[in-house]
């Protein structure tokens, strides 16, 4: 049992090589946070019928089946590191049976684009260094939604119209309990803990996998890793992946929106100053 103390950094390390796609994390999250169901529809995307993280789905298990794709064998495989596609399951390396599963979640970024975009202060950084929306402050302006480089936060347009996302179970942490998804994960694919400990553990796990003959293993969102670019990282919820980030619907090198504020404003004001000079010339010249 991890001791949860305010003032320390907590997060998730999601080791996708241990994920079996049971979706217990999705269910536990919905149960604890009282989130409504998203509907019984089927997407046709393997076993993934949640489709994406949303205002009412704070964990989302992605399923990528790489078995029997005839087109990928025609010399355009996504990368050298990927498992060879095109064969039957029996003729491919046994590890993971070429079936990738990954439980996605809010990354609780080091510099969070949603928090930096929020004009009301509804989004704030907690004493556990996580990023949470205060529901009694949010006025549903929706600016955090396109700001997020990972497409996580969303307005609940069919519900209360406010922004929602994973809170890293802020209420449970305050009570000394680990988040519901990590508690429910039966394979320890989702590991909760102090960020430093998790990073150390994740580094060891990557080394172990490399040693065991999984050269594709790498961390997404760890210090200096893909996903942790432009001061966004290290992500407080980070992942061990074995294919390109895009395969899991993650950007390889996201950028921080707030860094575009100052240059844009200065360029705009410079243009207006130029046009103001033109106006001044027109009016001064036209004076009788």
């Amino acid at each position: 049992m991890i001791e949860i103390v305010p003032g320390r950094q907590y997060g998730f390390f999601t080791d996708t090589t241990l994920c079996i796609g049971c979706k217990a994390c999705e269910v536990a999250c919905k149960e604890w946070n009282l989130l409504p169901a998203d509907g019984p529809g089927l997407t046709g995307n393997s076993y993934d019928n949640t489709a994406a993280l949303s205002a009412t789905s704070w964990r989302h298990v992605a399923f990528i089946e790489k078995i029997g794709d005839p087109s990928a064998s025609s010399g355009q495989a996504p990368s050298a590191g990927s498992v060879q596609a095109g064969g039957r399951a029996t003729s491919m390396p046994p590890f993971q049976s070429n079936w990738l599963m990954m439980s996605d979640v809010c990354k609780h970024c080091e510099r969070a684009a949603c928090l930096e975009a929020c004009p009301t202060g509804a989004l704030f950084r907690t004493e556990f260094d996580t990023v949470v929306v205060q529901q009694d402050i949010c006025n549903g302006c929706g600016y955090c939604v396109p700001a997020c480089p990972f497409g996580v936060i969303e307005l609940d347009l069919l519900g209360d119209g406010k922004a929602h996302k994973c809170t890293l179970c802020y209420d449970r942490l305050k009570g000394g309990l680990e988040p519901a998804c990590a508690k429910a994960c039966p394979t320890e694919s989702i590991q909760f803990g102090e960020l430093g400990d998790l990073q150390e553990r994740a580094g060891r796990r990557v080394g172990e996998l490399l040693e065991r003959g999984v050269p594709e293993a790498y961390l997404y969102g760890g210090p200096g890793s893909p996903g942790a670019t432009d001061d966004i990282g290290p992500l407080h919820a980070f992942f061990l992946l074995i294919d390109r980030p895009e395969v899991y619907n993650l950007p390889a090198a996201p950028s921080l929106p707030a860094k575009r504020v100052r240059p844009g404003l200065l360029a705009g004001l410079a243009t207006i100053a130029g046009l103001a000079l033109a106006a001044a010339a027109a009016f001064a010249a036209g004076k009788e």
């Binding site: 087109s71 009301t120 402050i137 929706g142 700001a147 619907n249 575009r260 360029a267």
Partner: protein, 354 residues
């Protein structure tokens, strides 16, 4: 499909398929054959699912970008005409100030209506956050509204009661109001650019100048249109010169923005119909080329024509609105294209597998 919670299921968008990709075998799901593993431009996507979320901005925000920008630029033009213009320019000053006041009153209505919890609009003024263009904009609009109110009050005192104190009040508050107006007309470009949407974020140094030039052109057109319709445009040629400067800048910046979108490989949303035609004929043709031609005639000829002024002004206003609408709505399209986003965020070293 409605659930007991009233929440329809989100259907997955059809996968984007690279050009000339072989058809996947019927045994393989449509999404898997090409999009999940290969995707577009050699970068895979996850069943063509969007990688970021688009946000909800539609007509209310489009209208605010137009109205707020126009009001800001109108206040700036009024202040310059007030300080540097002659007696003939008083009508331009008056029209600009009332336009700015009208826009400053309409803007918060549009923005508050766009909130999903409008009763909490005042939380916008709860904090100031320099990393958030939304916060910068809220405070700018609040300051601009208050100052435009003072300017409008002064102008009304002068117009209705003939008080000299009104004129002094309007001139004194007109300068800070114009400064706030300059920010009003440009920050909205940064508002869009400081997101993760490919179409907006790639033009982070071009959208604010473009919106500023477009706002100045719209404000000039609106002042000119009102004066023409009132039958009292004594500043026709000066306004035509100003419209030429703003329109020229707007056209050049629009072309530069388009080039930047192509260079960065995110121009898809404005290259497909109907966006492509609206952009070419509506924004560039009607909104920029037509007024430029008409205003050139107006500025160079020894006399002006009322009809020419009216047509040029109306075309500028329509084009300016279309420009904001196109950029906002095409941004929604852009956010739904994981290929564009992953192309943009591919990093310096290509595939990231070690």
């Amino acid at each position: 499909m409605e659930t007991p919670y009233g929440r329809p299921h989100r259907p997955a968008p059809s996968p984007t398929r690279g050009e000339g990709a072989p058809r996947p075998s019927p045994l393989v799901g449509e999404g898997l054959g090409t999009s999940a593993l290969r995707g577009v431009r050699g970068i895979p996507t996850y069943y063509g699912q969007p990688a970021i979320k688009a946000g909800h901005y539609r007509w209310l925000v489009v209208s605010y970008l137009f109205v707020g920008g126009l009001a800001g630029a109108a206040q700036l033009i009024a202040a310059i005409a007030d300080l540097l213009g002659g007696r003939r320019d008083r009508a331009i000053v008056r029209t600009g100030r009332y336009l700015a006041l009208g826009g400053a009153l309409l803007s918060p209505v549009l923005l508050i209506k766009d909130l999903h919890t409008p009763s909490r609009w005042y939380n916008m003024l709860r904090i100031f956050r320099s990393t958030s263009p939304m916060s910068i904009g809220s405070w700018t609009l609040a300051a601009f509204g208050a100052l435009s109110g003072l300017v409008g009050l002064g102008q009304a005192l002068e117009d209705l009661a003939g008080l000299a104190v009104g004129r002094r009040l309007a001139r004194l508050s007109g300068v800070p109001a114009a400064a706030a107006g300059a920010l009003m007309s440009t920050y909205t470009g940064t508002l869009l650019a400081s997101t993760s949407v490919p179409l907006w974020s790639t033009a982070d140094r071009l959208l604010p100048p473009l919106f500023g030039a477009s706002a100045a052109a719209s404000a000039t057109a609106a002042i000119s249109l009102i004066l023409e319709l009132a039958g009292a445009n004594r500043g026709r040629r000066r306004l035509a010169w100003l419209a030429l400067a703003c329109g020229g800048a707007q056209l050049a910046l629009a072309r530069a923005t388009e080039r930047e979108w192509r260079r960065q490989g995110v121009a898809g949303p404005i290259e497909r119909e109907p966006a492509a035609s609206i952009y070419r004929y509506g924004v560039l043709g009607l909104g920029a080329a037509v007024p430029l031609a008409l205003n050139s005639v107006q500025a160079l000829a020894c006399r002006g024509w009322r009809t020419v002024s009216v047509v040029a002004a109306a075309a500028t206003l329509a084009g300016g609105y279309l420009e904001r609408a196109l950029i906002v709505l095409a941004g929604r399209d852009s956010a739904g294209r994981p290929g564009d986003y992953f192309h943009l965020t591919r990093g310096a070293h290509g595939p990231t597998i070690t």
